[in-house]
């Protein structure tokens, strides 16, 4: 393990992959709030969320050498690993079972709300908001219910009356659209770096 102090402006994961112990801990400073907030939303209770956060950070450190700054941002890499671990965990431990009572007035993310995002997340938030703004109301609502609230495809169909196949299509197309915007953002960055 080396002891070089990481710069706050640099990516941490390449340093983690090199065995920098300060970078290992700095990941907690930089991404702790994001990972904790994701875990709190997806886990059943604080104890479960704490276990999940530990599992996520160990996974991030172990996979640090897979992070390629040319391909995407570190925060996206972290969020992707966090969500995958959390989804695995939800499947392993089980979702909280649901009954048939559907509250169609459930709280939704207000895309009109344009509060300033934390600097660390600004690019990702901009892409997410731009992508959601391009979708029609039904598509946006389905994506928010799936990713924001964690509802299964079946429950979304049940809650909204939208056919299950259409729910799947909305989610698939929404994700593909966001992926396209991420690619565009990367291309812009690459051009900016070349200029």
């Amino acid at each position: 393990m080396t002891t070089r102090q990481p710069n706050a402006e640099t990516d941490l994961l390449p340093l983690v992959a090199q065995g920098d112990q300060h970078a290992v801990k700095a990941c907690l400073d930089r991404y702790g709030s994001l990972v904790w907030s994701l875990a709190r939303r997806m886990c059943r209770n604080t104890v479960d969320a704490e276990d999940a956060v530990q599992e996520i950070f160990v996974s991030i450190w172990k996979n640090a050498d897979r992070f390629d700054p040319e391909r995407g941002s570190e925060v996206t890499f972290v969020a992707t690993i966090a969500r995958r671990r959390l989804i695995d965990r939800v499947r392993r431990i089980g979702r909280r079972p649901a009954e048939s009572t559907i509250d169609t007035g459930m709280p939704m993310v207000d895309t009109a709300e344009q509060a300033e995002a934390p600097a660390l997340l600004r690019d990702e938030v901009a892409v997410a908001r731009a992508a959601l703004a391009e979708l029609n109301d039904e598509q946006r609502r389905v994506l928010q219910m799936s990713i924001g609230l964690g509802l299964s495809h079946e429950k979304i169909a049940e809650a909204t009356g939208i056919p299950l196949g259409t729910v799947k299509t909305h989610i698939r197309r929404g994700l593909i659209r966001v992926r396209g915007m991420i690619e565009d953002q990367r291309a812009q960055r690459a051009r900016g770096a070349e200029a």
């Binding site: 939303r41 609230l149 809650a159």
Partner: protein
């Protein structure tokens, strides 16, 4: 993250999308084949999740952050408590392994001193107990011991003529008797039955559900299908070998804050995540 595009096969794209938002099973993962490494839609879902949560970030609680610092040290090969004794081993380093990955073992890197000392302690305990012949208490004996503890809740299974069941869908056995014993402090409990029909585990099993008065408020987050309704905690699947008196340990899958109702349902072998509420026994905590 992989640099490949998306598959041209719509079915594979649908599986990747499904994996990104709610996960897929092993069979679906096999169907993805080489595309299993494609995480572009996972990234997209991650970006959307960031967009949806950015305005609601919560700081990590100090205690949890302190525990994570210790995990970070252990990961870096530094004993976070050196030269601590094995009894000072932190509870917080208890990472559940992800599929195929033993994260717990990673967290223990550098804890060789602890492990050696713990091994010595274990050997000492084994040596001390090797000459003993004390048998493991049966569930019935443990239930009796539990019943003597202060604060333990005891609730009888309700009878068919109980007014509180007048509107409930059920198929109670009129002959069923017994009670639930539950220690709210330790979350240890037992079900005592007399007259519960013997089941063939290959056809159906019994499953206990515990309704916690502190859920879904309390600290439960607003995420997942469970937000749509009040939901009980799985208390374990069990069998009845005969209609005589049987004692079944309760195996709550989550901590119970305030047990309100214990319900036993008939379920397919192995139990279920979502019950159809085919209730055969019900006990309400007064």
């Amino acid at each position: 993250m992989t640099g490949q595009g998306l598959p041209t096969d719509d079915r594979l794209v649908e599986l990747l999308a499904m994996r990104a938002v709610e996960g897929i099973d092993a069979d679906a993962l096999r169907q993805l084949g080489d595309w299993a490494d494609c995480d572009q839609l996972d990234e997209a879902a991650g970006v959307l999740a960031i967009g949806m949560i950015a305005d609601q970030l919560e700081p990590m609680p100090e205690m949890i952050r302190a525990n994570l610092d210790r995990v970070a040290l252990a990961y870096s090969g530094i004993d976070p408590d050196a030269p601590a004794s094995p009894l000072a081993m932190p509870d917080s380093i208890r990472i559940e392994p992800a599929a195929g990955v033993s994260t717990r073992s990673v967290a223990w890197i550098g804890a060789a001193g602890w492990l050696a000392a713990a091994a010595c302690l274990l050997l000492a305990v084994l040596a001390w107990t090797s000459g003993r012949t004390t048998p493991t208490p049966s569930p019935a004996e443990r239930a009796v011991a539990l019943a003597s503890r202060p604060g333990v809740i005891r609730s009888n299974w309700l009878g068919l003529d109980d007014a509180s069941l007048a509107e409930a869908p059920h198929r109670f056995d009129a002959q069923l008797k017994g009670e639930v014993l539950w220690d709210p402090e330790t979350n240890e409990g037992y079900m005592v039955f007399e007259g519960l029909a013997a089941n063939d585990p290959t056809e159906y099993q019994y499953q206990l559900w515990i309704f916690d008065a502190e859920r879904p408020t309390g600290e439960l987050p607003e995420y997942g299908d469970g937000i749509l309704s009040q939901c009980p905690v799985d208390g374990g699947v069990f069998d009845a070998a005969g209609t005589g008196r049987i004692v079944i340990p309760i195996n709550a899958k989550l901590p119970i804050g305030k047990a309100a109702i214990f319900a036993v349902t008939v379920e397919p072998p192995g139990g279920v995540v979502v019950s159809k509420r085919d209730i055969v026994a019900l006990a309400m905590v007064q």
